[in-house]
């Protein structure tokens, strides 16, 4: 039953990648910017959740919601301050700004609290249940449940609400959307808010699941989530979910075969292969050049 256990391990890891990847893909879909500061919003989310639980004695759900709300606000601030004025600049300028914002967030946090790690308090009951020989912790089931609920909520927002319709319209053609009377700036801000809220939620979930958080924790998961988004087809929301899960399972399989030191390399080999063989990703549409 080793394989079932490994599959469970992979899905747990993958669902965290998927939550972060959603934010990447939504932002890319709407303004064609790879927001490298996204991994750091994830880190901020983890710390906000940590302080909510450890300092203000909140439960898991209040902490999750506070973290999502604060991250949404931070996401909007980042967009308004750093990216908005670069909307008509070259893509590379915006990309480099994103890297700058990322470093700014990381080192501001280090400045205020130091670089030492923090241990997440156990807010969820943690028991192992044995199913067909695989040990699944109640925590990981719970976390998977929260992740699925958040994804369904996102699908609902994107497909059934007015703001979701506006987001889809802006991502399709921003100029046409503006002509139709859609407030493009607000729609972009809303996209950042939703994406950052998901990153904040992923941060709290990561903290509860893996216990250790530190100011540079967002870097590697951020890059992995980027790979997941590209794998699924950047700009595609179902693609980000599937990409995240596939990446989590692939990494687990690589470790399970005894190549644990190659695990991170495997993720980036996937990125290279996807970019060479199918740049549009699993769910990506072949982009037509607009003339």
């Amino acid at each position: 039953m080793e394989w079932l256990q490994q599959l469970v391990n992979g899905i747990s890891l993958g669902s965290i990648y998927a939550l972060i990847a959603l934010g990447y893909t939504m932002v890319y879909g709407i303004i064609k910017l790879i927001n490298f500061a996204h991994g750091d919003v994830f880190m901020l989310g983890a710390f906000i959740g940590f302080y909510a639980i450890a300092r203000w004695d909140m439960g898991f759900f209040p902490a999750l919601i506070i973290s999502m709300v604060v991250c949404a606000i931070i996401g909007v601030i980042i967009e308004r301050v750093a990216y908005k004025r670069l909307r008509n600049a070259t893509r590379i300028a915006a990309l480099i700004t994103a890297i700058g914002v990322s470093l700014l967030i990381e080192y501001t946090v280090i400045f205020f609290r130091g670089a030492s790690p923090e241990a997440y308090p156990g807010v969820l009951p943690n028991k192992s249940i044995s199913i067909l020989g695989a040990n699944i912790s109640t925590q990981s089931i719970f976390i998977l449940g929260v992740t699925i609920v958040l994804m369904i909520l996102l699908q609902f927002i994107v497909h059934k609400t007015k703001i979701g319709k506006a987001m889809r319209a802006v991502s399709h053609d921003a100029d046409a959307a503006r002509l139709m009377g859609i407030n493009v700036d607000n729609t972009i801000s809303a996209t950042f808010a939703i994406g950052s809220a998901l990153a904040g939620a992923a941060g709290v979930i990561f903290g509860v699941y893996y216990t250790k958080i530190d100011p540079l924790m967002g870097v590697l998961p951020g890059l992995k989530a980027f790979v997941a988004a590209v794998l699924g087809g950047i700009g595609s929301i179902p693609g980000a979910m599937v990409g995240g899960l596939v990446l989590g399972v692939v990494e687990t399989v690589v470790s399970a075969l005894g190549y644990s030191l190659w695990r991170d390399a495997a993720a980036f080999v996937i990125l290279i292969l996807i970019l060479i063989l199918k740049p549009s990703g699993i769910f990506g549409k072949n982009a037509r050049e607009k003339v």
Binding site: Q5, A119, K212
Partner: protein
């Protein structure tokens, strides 16, 4: 900065006064503990304080080790000064933060050697950072004594030559690996063992190698050997692999940041066999990360235990608790011992000259300290006992002592 300015002013006053006092050599035991020694080896002889540098990890990844050593060393300096200092001279401890980084450790060593002109230095806590300071010590002929740098190559180079000015208060890695292997096959009766080592640290790789050698010598079998790298957070897939390999005992040399997560995730996967590590596990953060329950049935080899019934240890524990409201960990004890090791050498050398102290350090025999009685061997390593500790509900409890 303000303090530096006043130090300079004191220094010039002191220089002037030392011209007068210098004639009356030997009568220099003044009560003023604040006046710093003037620079230079010649004045060093008649100075009223003996400066000892402490190049430690006070922030960064392994801040827990460095700050514990600093706390222990401070207590030792207070005790020595309260008892009249070294031959009537007070000790002044100059702490420099190396931020847990190699390059910063080198810079700190240069500062201590050339600006502060210390008589001897307490070296960084980890072997990698300690190595970055050894050359500076050799060049400036100022001994550096590592409190917890356990890698063999800190004192002995690959070609077998000895770094003359590098010493340590702790035992070395191969010894910890051997103790762990003997404990696994002896006390626990394990035959099939696994190793899960931090591949990014020389410390962990050294421990894993000596453990493996000793296990095989004891007739045991290493059924799986896996590795991780520092900063990893997900160990479940590799642990699942170790579980299905049928290991009865897993040896996990590494540092507390990752080990805490490994222990937690191992227990979640239903791995309930004994886990064992070494002094890299010794941090309160480990208990926070892994959780007290998960740490049951885990063991570490360490330099000392605060639960050791030995009288000398208990009086140290009492004194430490009275001041800091917590039981001292091994790094506190090693920091404390390192200052006494240096003090003993300076006393026997009868001077603060680097070469004389170096000679005295190398000739140390049967020095009775908190972490055991030791003599220094020809490779500048202390020959001393190791303690095996067991985690019970998050507390380290004394299990047994192992002689070299």
């Amino acid at each position: 900065m303000a303090q530096k300015g006043s130090l300079k002013r004191f220094s010039s006053i002191f220089l002037a006064s030392s011209l007068i006092v210098g004639a009356l050599a030997g009568c220099s035991s003044s009560e003023g503990g604040t006046s710093p020694a003037s620079g230079g080896a010649s004045e060093g002889e008649s100075s009223e304080v003996i400066k000892i540098g402490a190049n430690l990890e006070l922030s960064g990844a392994v801040a827990s080790y460095g700050s514990s050593i600093a706390t222990g060393a401070e207590l030792a300096v207070e005790d020595i000064n309260a008892a009249g200092g070294i031959d009537g001279k007070k000790i002044e401890l100059i702490k420099v933060d190396n931020k847990s980084e190699n390059s910063e450790a080198t810079a700190a060593a240069i500062k201590l050697a050339t600006q502060d002109k210390v008589a001897a230095m307490i070296g960084p806590a980890t072997s990698g950072n300690m190595l970055a300071t050894v050359q500076i010590s050799n060049d400036n002929k100022i001994p550096v004594v590592g409190a917890a740098a356990t890698a063999p190559n800190v004192t002995e180079n690959e070609d077998g030559s000895i770094n003359d000015y590098a010493f340590r208060t702790c035992f070395i890695d191969p010894f910890q690996g051997i103790v762990a292997a003997n404990f696994a096959t002896g006390e626990l009766g394990a035959k099939n063992v696994a190793i899960y080592a931090d591949n990014s640290s020389d410390y962990a790789k050294g421990l894993a190698a000596s453990f493996k050698e000793q296990i095989e010598a004891n007739g045991g079998k290493v059924v799986a050997e896996e590795a991780y790298v520092a900063k990893d957070t997900d160990f479940k897939s590799t642990l699942t692999r170790l579980k299905s390999a049928g290991a009865e005992f897993i040896f996990i040399p590494g540092y507390y940041e990752e080990v805490g997560l490994i222990v937690k995730q191992a227990r979640e996967l239903g791995i309930d066999v004994p886990l064992m590590g070494a002094d890299g596990w010794d941090s309160p953060t480990l208990v926070e990360l892994a959780g007290a329950e998960a740490l049951n049935n885990t063991f570490i080899t360490n330099h000392y235990s605060s639960n050791d019934p030995d009288e000398k240890i208990q009086s140290f524990v009492e004194a430490f608790k009275a001041k800091h409201n917590e039981a001292p960990n091994a790094f506190h004890a090693l920091g404390y011992d390192t200052v006494f090791y240096i003090k003993d050498a300076i006393e026997r050398a009868g001077s603060t000259d680097g070469e004389a102290i170096q000679k005295a350090l190398a000739e140390t025999t049967d020095l009775n300290l908190i972490t055991g009685t030791f003599s220094v061997d020809e490779k500048h390593n202390p020959v001393k006992t190791a303690t095996v500790l067991e985690f019970v509900d998050g507390n380290q409890t004394f299990n047994s002592k192992v002689n070299p």
